[in-house]
């Protein structure tokens, strides 16, 4: 497929290759000069600034939040905003909903995408190329196209405002198939043949030979799917019709346009709760995330 053409071949070694190598003098001319650092640093301030602004304002008092001109460093430090969203508002429930949905969506994609990826990469069966084409064709279909009939389907299945309703549309994602198939194709056939000679069945081969070799790609897929699920907004907004089933983004967005629209202290605290887990995952595992983007070109 031509869309995938410019994308680098995916292998764990590519992680090493894509790293810039500053210490090879032959490779590049002397750097552009100090002004490049200045320009990049100004950019960094504009990118990181809003996050710091969010954290600073989440620990300010209501009076200080409305102070003109605004302050950067909180004059009086308070955790009241956090206490309020976790005790007076339903944030523990939203947080748990987000965690449950993300966990099941990640687990099912890891399992199902690697299974079908194995079948498409290593097994011969009639209809295989048709299956791959159909799956691939949907990668570029925008979510907006199928929201309405999906809701009709869910309401007829009785899944409106339920975990299955939140989870099922994301439990089998096409780009995961693409990713896993590509990695599994890189596994030498001899390895599988050897196991077959020893009398291993296909399920044993998959579990004992293939899966153990998929550590890095499974990590990449897992993180991308997690990020996508955690930040997912439009479908949860539609299918979660009561407060009890809200995920964090739906809750924050609903509060931001509802009666708490001007309570920026609560909104900033809610945003911290929404962003912090993702930043933690990203900063710890950013190697896999950026590698995954460079491989698939898609964010989860």
């Amino acid at each position: 497929m031509s869309v995938a053409a410019p994308v680098r071949p995916a292998s764990p070694a590519a992680v090493v290759q894509t790293r810039p190598q500053p210490s090879t003098p032959r490779r590049r001319r002397s750097p552009g000069g100090w002004w490049v650092y200045v320009a990049l640093s100004i950019g960094l301030v504009f990118l990181v600034g809003p996050f710091l602004w969010m954290v600073a304002n989440s620990v300010k008092t209501s009076a200080e939040l409305h102070h003109v001109p605004p302050t950067w460093i909180p004059q009086t430090f308070t955790l009241d905003n956090y206490t309020t969203i976790f005790t007076k508002l339903n944030f523990p429930q939203y947080f748990i909903n987000s965690v449950i949905v993300a966990t099941i969506v990640v687990a099912s994609n890891l399992l199902f995408c690697s299974m079908i990826g194995y079948a498409l990469a290593k097994l011969r069966f009639r209809g295989k190329s048709a299956v791959f084409l159909i799956v691939l064709a949907t990668i570029m279909v925008p979510q907006t196209v199928y929201l309405v009939p999906l809701f009709v389907l869910m309401s007829n299945l009785g899944f409106v405002n339920s975990y299955p309703g939140l989870i099922l549309p994301f439990a089998a994602q096409a780009f995961g198939v693409f990713l896993m198939r590509q990695f599994i194709q890189g596994i030498p056939d001899e390895l599988l043949e050897a196991a077959r000679m020893d009398g291993a069945g296909e399920f044993t081969i998959f579990r004992r030979v293939v899966l153990p070799l998929l550590g890095a790609p499974l990590a990449t897929l897992g993180i991308l799917i997690f990020l996508g699920s955690w930040n997912n907004f439009l479908w949860p907004l539609i299918i979660a019709t009561s407060d009890q089933m809200y995920t964090l983004p739906v809750a924050v967005a609903t509060f931001s346009i509802g009666q708490n629209a001007v309570d920026y202290g609560l909104l900033m605290a809610g945003s911290v709760v929404l962003i912090a887990p993702v930043l933690l995952v990203f900063l710890l595992l950013q190697r896999f995330v950026q590698q995954g983007i460079a491989t698939t070109g898609l964010k989860g």
Partner: protein, 312 residues
């Protein structure tokens, strides 16, 4: 048993065995594919097709219990679209978001990638990670933060302007400014993604080319014009398609920041689909709109492939 008979016998024994092996492999293949395919077909492929059918019906709230009670009304929904001023406004808005957003996103992403790749030697990781933070963060949370930053009364931007004695405008209350801020937010949040893909593309350019150019006495700008840009053409195509498709579906930014206002000037198509389908429950009409968007996306993708192909 003669040798010949033995051969025939073993061959006839072998053939069903081979056929059984083939059948077994096919069964295993389908078995491994089944869990994914079942969910995928039911909750993705089926709705995509159903959306097409729905777009020719008068499906609305009353049909939700019995979907098959909806009536076919031919192309009425599509005809109605052409005379719906709100849809035309949304289409115009979406075009503005996509055109400005995509161009700026690629330009800023490329500038950052080139600066990181060849402009500096130290602290690369800090900039790369820092620039990428918004990409992984919840767009809802970021839109809430931005709305606060641009708040007319106690936002940081107007606060900063005030220290210089300037009375800042009501950013999100002014249609033109609001569109500008939403485009800025789209670029701010997404260019890190373009940067990473450009970086991968840049590192695929053979260094020999730059060395040859240097021997010929080319300066940095000439290097960029005659080596970097042409070599990045496939990456450029890929990113243009990807960004266009992404921005054609823009939803969260206006939903949180402006609710589509003022005067529907920031209402994108995806939000109008949402309003028609889930606020007014005109599912048939919403599907026609969604499919129009889909056709536009497919057409734009094809045209971009053609255009950029023919240039290379």
């Amino acid at each position: 048993m003669s040798a010949q008979q033995a051969l025939v016998a073993s061959a006839s024994r072998a053939r069903p065995a081979a056929r059984r092996g083939w059948l077994r492999e096919a069964l295993t293949g389908w078995l491994f594919s089944a869990p994914f395919l079942l969910i995928f077909l039911a909750f993705l492929a089926l709705p995509i097709l159903a959306s097409f059918v729905l777009s020719f019906t008068n499906f609305s709230l009353g049909n939700l219990v019995d979907p098959f009670s909806a009536r076919f009304i031919g192309l009425n929904n599509y005809a109605k679209l052409l005379h719906d001023p709100k849809f035309l406004q949304a289409a115009l808005n979406t075009t503005i978001f996509v055109v400005f957003g995509t161009v700026l996103n690629l330009a800023v992403g490329l500038a950052a990638a080139v600066a990181l790749n060849r402009g500096i030697t130290r602290f690369r990781a800090i900039f790369r990670v820092g620039y990428y933070l918004p990409v992984v963060s919840s767009i809802v949370a970021i839109a809430v933060i931005w709305r606060f930053l641009f708040n007319a009364d106690f936002g940081l931007v107007n606060g900063a302007l005030q220290t210089f004695g300037i009375k800042g405008p009501d950013w999100l209350g002014n249609p033109t400014l609001a569109v500008g801020i939403i485009v800025a937010l789209m670029v701010w949040r997404n260019f890190g993604n373009a940067m990473i893909i450009f970086l991968a593309g840049l590192q695929g350019i053979p260094n020999d080319l730059y060395e040859a150019a240097r021997i010929d006495g080319a300066n940095r700008w000439q290097e960029f014009r005659s080596i970097t840009l042409p070599m990045l053409r496939p990456t450029m195509l890929f990113l243009t398609v990807l960004t266009t498709i992404g921005f054609l579906q823009v939803f969260e930014e206006p939903f949180v920041m402006t609710q589509g206002g003022p005067l529907n000037k920031t209402l994108p198509i995806s939000m109008y689909v949402y309003q028609q389908g889930f606020n007014f429950f005109h599912q048939g009409y919403a599907s026609a709109m969604a499919y129009t968007l889909f056709v536009v996306i497919a057409a734009v993708t094809l045209i971009q492939f053609r255009l950029l192909r023919s240039q290379t």
